[in-house]
């Protein structure tokens, strides 16, 4: 059986600023005959390989800005890689940022329909699964309230429920369960396990190393855009913890995470 997700030597560069910031500046430079130099990459993910088969869960760990979310966005098809190739088979559902893809002014139920269509569900499919989504998210009557009044827990429960209802072959979760309470996390875990038994694959990004140990069959440790270590869950998590408690590597990873241009997110604010 071919794997559901395959990444071969995938790389991604982010530059800042990505282009001349203003038309005026670009024009003046062009008139003066100055070439607009491409800035050096502010962040680079490189040499990323991955293969996830049916029923297995891969977890990606690492400090802030190590490229975990970038990997998920690449697999989801949100970003286009700078090099390499990504192959996916079947429906992909990504819960990548808290409440992302949900619209604050719309009510919970309107968002269920909107997010459902974004995840590739047909309208009739979303309607058929509507009560299931609301029940699992435990939103209750709040489903008729604009989601800007939701707590962060409610938002993540709703996003997760919709993603699961789309029955993805490939489930991408980025800290999706971090804000849920213990009971909800338990139910999420059960639901994911059930889904994986059905033949799906999951890639989970989490800072909760207990979750990682429990669910992941393989763990990849990213550092500054490169794979530092990969392998069996406990082995990698232990090494990761050891590096953080040890004096020397800790300073190292600290430097990496405070380096400028670590996260592509701030490009958005430019």
């Amino acid at each position: 059986m071919r794997p559901l997700v395959e990444c071969r030597n995938v790389g991604k560069e982010f530059r800042y600023p990505p282009q001349a910031a203003s038309l005026r500046e670009w024009f003046i430079r062009t008139v003066r005959g100055q070439t607009v130099r491409r800035p050096a990459p502010a962040f680079r993910l490189s040499g990323f390989d991955l293969s996830v088969g049916r029923g297995s869960t891969v977890s990606i760990i690492g400090g802030n800005g190590s490229g975990k979310s970038t990997v998920l966005r690449l697999i989801a098809g949100i970003y286009i890689p700078s090099e390499g190739e990504i192959r996916t088979r079947g429906r992909v559902a990504a819960v990548v940022e808290l409440g992302m893809g949900l619209h604050p002014e719309l009510t919970g139920s309107e968002n269920v329909h909107l997010y459902g269509t974004i995840l590739g569900m047909s309208r009739s499919e979303t309607r058929a699964r509507f009560s299931e989504i609301v029940d699992f998210a435990e939103i209750g009557d709040f489903i008729h309230v604009p989601i800007k009044y939701y707590s962060s827990g409610m938002l993540s429960r709703l996003a997760f429920s919709i993603a699961m209802a789309s029955e993805p072959d490939i489930l991408l979760l980025d800290e999706a369960m971090a804000v849920g309470d213990q009971a909800f996390r338990e139910r999420c875990g059960e639901r994911i396990a059930e889904h994986l038994n059905g033949g799906a694959a999951a890639i989970i990004v989490s800072h909760d190393l207990d979750v990682v140990r429990r669910y992941a069959s393989e763990v990849i440790w990213l550092e500054a855009g490169r794979i530092r270590m990969r392998g069996e869950a406990n082995e990698v998590v232990d090494a990761y913890l050891a590096s953080m408690s040890g004096a020397e590597p800790a300073a190292d990873s600290e430097a990496a995470s405070s380096a400028p241009g670590q996260q592509p997110e701030y490009l958005a604010e430019a």
Partner: protein
């Protein structure tokens, strides 16, 4: 479980599949509905408000150009009416292109769907309003101007389609530019204002000197508005030559604009 036949290969050269736009048609529909809903739910008078602004402008323009600067066109109000909403819709679409990608930045960074849908849905919502405005225009012209319904209205759907292609084609590079250069949104109003004066909105193409007419018709809105004037105001079928010319402009604008958009859209996701 969705079909596993849906194999997707993403490489640095991927631009997304054309069929994805169709696959996400429900999203397109939701976005159009949301655009309209947000606009009309927020005020009690709803549609009346959006109509009030152009009506006021129409009244001012009619007063100025029939009493102060006399434009030699009879039934000036009817002339103005048959082109004004076209221009109004087009310029709103063009300015919306500077912000739609920013507006939905979080959506685009959290889900993979073709960004074309954002442009198409913004343009569709505006053209939906335009259709209502043109409907009202038709009623007014039939009662007070033509005293009947001219056959030329049969061409109207074709004009409508050409307008949509032309506008979406122009919106695409504007959208890309305004993501890459932050001052495009400030420059565009000037361009639009200039375009307003070199388009036959408050005067007719006939008033443009013959010597520069060829140059003048390079402006796609000159041709488009002339078509509307022929069909709505004069109630006659437009010449095949003019129709063909506008069709060429509209389709090439759409083709070129879409090609530019596909080339740069992945960069836009990262920046905006």
């Amino acid at each position: 479980m969705a079909t596993l036949d849906d194999v997707r290969v993403i490489t640095p050269r991927s631009r997304g599949r054309m069929s994805d736009v169709w696959r996400f048609r429900d999203l397109y529909r939701s976005l159009v509905a949301r655009d309209l809903a947000v606009k009309y739910q927020s005020s009690v008078l709803g549609f009346v408000w959006t109509l009030l602004n152009p009506l006021l402008m129409l009244a001012v323009l009619t007063a100025v150009f029939t009493h102060v600067i006399r434009v030699p066109i009879e039934h000036y109000w009817a002339f103005l009416l048959s082109g004004y909403f076209v221009w109004n819709c087009a310029q709103q679409c063009l300015s919306s292109a500077t912000y739609v990608l920013h507006q939905h930045a979080s959506l685009r960074r959290s889900a993979a769907f073709p960004s074309e849908i954002l442009l198409l849905s913004a343009a569709t919502a505006k053209h939906f309003e335009f259709a209502i405005e043109i409907g009202l225009t038709l009623v007014a012209l039939a009662i007070f101007h033509h005293h009947g319904v001219p056959n030329s209205l049969l061409v109207l759907p074709a004009l409508f389609a050409l307008q949509f292609f032309l506008v979406v084609g122009l919106m695409s590079p504007i959208a890309v530019l305004s993501v890459l250069f932050r001052d495009v949104q400030h420059a565009l109003p000037l361009v639009i204002l200039a375009l307003f004066y070199v388009s036959p909105v408050f005067y007719s193409t006939d008033l443009v000197p013959e010597s520069v007419r060829g140059l003048y018709m390079l402006n796609p809105f000159a041709g488009l508005l002339s078509l509307y004037h022929a069909v709505l105001f004069e109630g006659r079928f437009p010449s095949a030559g003019l129709l063909g010319w506008v069709a060429i402009l509209a389709l090439s604008s759409y083709g070129v604009g879409y090609a530019i958009f596909r080339r740069y859209k992945s960069l836009c996701v990262e920046v905006a």
